[in-house]
């Protein structure tokens, strides 16, 4: 029991005193996962919209791939990207291995199918005649897409929540492509893994508490945005 109490007490003081290392790790995690989620939105929303509205040969195959991608094992992503970024690998010259940028890329790869899948589902759930009505109101192609995405904003917010949740809590790929370099690539998850292995339970608890609080706060904000307006 002492071990737990000591750990909790230590973590309390780390958080209250504003330990520089703890906050640096938190900020890095937030920025990396935030950037990855944003990139995933930039790729996944247009891709999902296209998949939802267009019919083309092989569409079912692409959709199946997207849906499989929603459950993509992070370690597989980590492995493939590690090989690509390896010093002697095809993208070795870019010097990305063991950097935060590599972590952002890995997390983007993990989050993009999630955003794409949610976008397809969200837009396909809309009444197909709504497209005709919006066009009939005088919408241009771009205005139509914008209004459809606005109509699908609930599932889109769900996409943000799911994508951010997946990448901020991910460990495998981050260690593989980013390693756990103190002051450079440590994240809340990877630093917790390391601290636990070393028996530094105070730091591990502190990082975990922050991780939980962060996930809760970010989700709370998006949920509030999602649930605005009267419901039936």
């Amino acid at each position: 029991m002492d071990l737990i109490w000591d750990g909790l007490r230590q973590s309390f003081w780390l958080l209250v005193r504003g330990d520089a290392r703890v906050y640096e790790i938190m900020l890095r995690s937030l920025l990396a996962s935030g950037a990855a989620t944003l990139l995933a939105l930039l790729i996944g929303v247009p891709a999902g919209t296209f998949l939802a509205l267009r019919r083309f040969p092989g569409r079912a195959l692409v959709l199946s791939a997207v849906h499989s991608g929603m459950g993509l094992p992070p370690v597989v992503v980590g492995l493939v990207l590690s090989v690509l970024f390896w010093r002697t690998g095809p993208l070795g010259d870019l010097g990305l291995l063991y950097t935060v940028r590599a972590i952002v890329i890995a997390q983007t790869v993990i989050a993009t199918p999630i955003v794409t899948g949610f976008t397809v589902a969200g837009i396909q759930a809309l009444d197909p005649r709504l497209r005709l009505q919006i066009l009939a109101l005088g919408a241009s192609r771009l205005q139509l897409l914008w209004l459809l995405l606005k109509e699908a904003r609930l599932p889109l917010m769900a996409a943000v929540i799911a994508a951010f949740g997946a990448v901020i809590s991910e460990v495998g790929a981050a260690i593989q492509v980013g390693s756990i370099i103190r002051g450079e690539t440590e994240l809340l998850t990877t630093a917790t893994v390391l601290a636990t292995q070393r028996g530094d339970f105070g730091l591990a608890f502190a990082l975990s508490v922050i991780l939980l609080a962060l996930v809760f706060c970010v989700n709370a904000v998006f949920t509030l945005i999602q649930q605005r307006g009267p419901r039936p």
Partner: protein, 362 residues
């Protein structure tokens, strides 16, 4: 009459099948053009093609004589469409009514003024601040109509706008819309499968069957003088029998129908020997055999036997065998007074002018 919208050689293909083929159709300035036809005839497809929502495989649509091709968005912004379902977007009523104007870049003040004016005109000004999810079906359709009229369209399209409403709501809305259309004289294309709605709102009617326009003309004419047997059956002329014109005198034709039965009718505009004899059931009166059915100018009196009596709301449809099948629509009261039963001998009476002859080449 100038044409606001003209479709020429219009052909729409879906999954390799031609679903619509219209040689020529015009929507005139200030008129309501009803498009009627059975389910699956291609009415909505025609509306969507005319409203520039569906690109035809071939053919041309011209707005006031100018082809729209390549400038669809600009012309679509001079039109408005109301569908069967209100299809409101998530948000408030005012947000919906002003949306089309916002897409056109109309200033906010003007948008609000127009929204208020048209919500008021359709009796739903009090709902401006409501969320669309809090509306009843009738209210939502009124908002949808206000949204279309707020655009002040040069051509308005209505695609069965009343068919998902209950009868009293539908009646109230029909009467409001009728008033607004008479007042604004907006050129309107009105798609419906309901013959009564079509007769009530339309100046002209086009009958669409299997993707082709079978007849276009003034509403009364289409209903009173259907171009062929199928149109006749659809517009509610339940008795359609082949006959042979035996002679014409004083504008009246003597038509032989079946074995030794003669029907008097106005002579067809083009001389024809073989004709279809069309008779609406409302125009047939029934009397017990031997009694005079109606005093005065009733030229046609045919003895017959009751085959079937089908009550239909406040009325009853009586099918008679007069040597050919003849259908009559009588009031519930007449039905009770006559106490008709299958097998009863009766006399069917109808004026010569109630009969319409369609030249019919076999």
């Amino acid at each position: 009459m100038t044409a606001r919208l003209t479709a020429t050689g219009l052909r729409v293909v879906r999954s390799g099948r031609t679903v619509l083929e219209v040689d020529r159709l015009e929507v005139h300035e200030g008129e309501v053009l009803g498009i009627i036809g059975p389910n699956g005839a291609g009415k909505s497809t025609l509306l969507q093609a005319l409203a520039l929502l569906e690109r035809p495989a071939s053919g041309e649509i011209a707005f006031e004589g100018a082809p729209v091709r390549g400038r669809e968005l600009a012309y679509r912004r001079r039109m408005a469409v109301v569908f069967q379902d209100p299809l409101l977007l998530d948000g408030g009523v005012e947000h919906n009514v002003t949306l089309g104007l916002r897409l056109r870049g109309v200033p906010a003040k003007e948008r609000r003024a127009r929204a208020r004016r048209w919500l008021e005109r359709f009796g739903v000004a009090g709902l401006a601040g409501r969320h669309v999810r809090a509306l009843s079906g009738g209210e939502a359709q009124r908002v949808s109509l206000a949204r279309a009229f707020a655009l002040e369209p040069e051509v308005l399209f209505l695609d069965e706008p009343f068919s998902s409403l209950d009868a009293p709501t539908r009646e109230a809305l029909l009467s409001d819309l009728d008033g607004v259309l008479r007042e604004t004289r907006t050129a309107t294309v009105f798609v419906t499968h309901d013959r009564d709605e079509a007769l009530r709102l339309s100046d002209r009617v086009a009958v669409l069957m299997a993707g082709r326009v079978r007849q276009v003309g003034p509403a009364w004419e289409v209903f009173a003088a259907p171009a062929d047997g199928e149109v006749a059956a659809f517009v509610g002329v339940e008795t359609v029998v082949p006959g042979r014109v035996a002679g014409v005198s004083d504008g009246l034709a003597r038509v032989a129908v079946g074995e030794g039965i003669t029907v008097w009718a106005p002579a067809p505009p083009v001389p024809a020997a073989e004709v279809l004899v069309c008779l609406r059931p409302e125009n047939v009166a029934i009397a017990p055999a031997g009694e005079p059915a109606e005093a005065g100018s009733v030229r046609n009196r045919l003895p017959g036997t009751v085959v079937r009596v089908v009550p239909a709301g406040f009325q009853a449809r009586v099918e008679l065998d007069c040597g050919f099948r003849l259908s009559a629509l009588i009031t519930g009261q007449s039905l009770r007074e006559l106490a008709l039963r299958p097998g009863d001998r009766v006399t069917a009476a109808f004026k010569a002018t109630a009969v319409h002859l369609i030249p019919h080449a076999r």
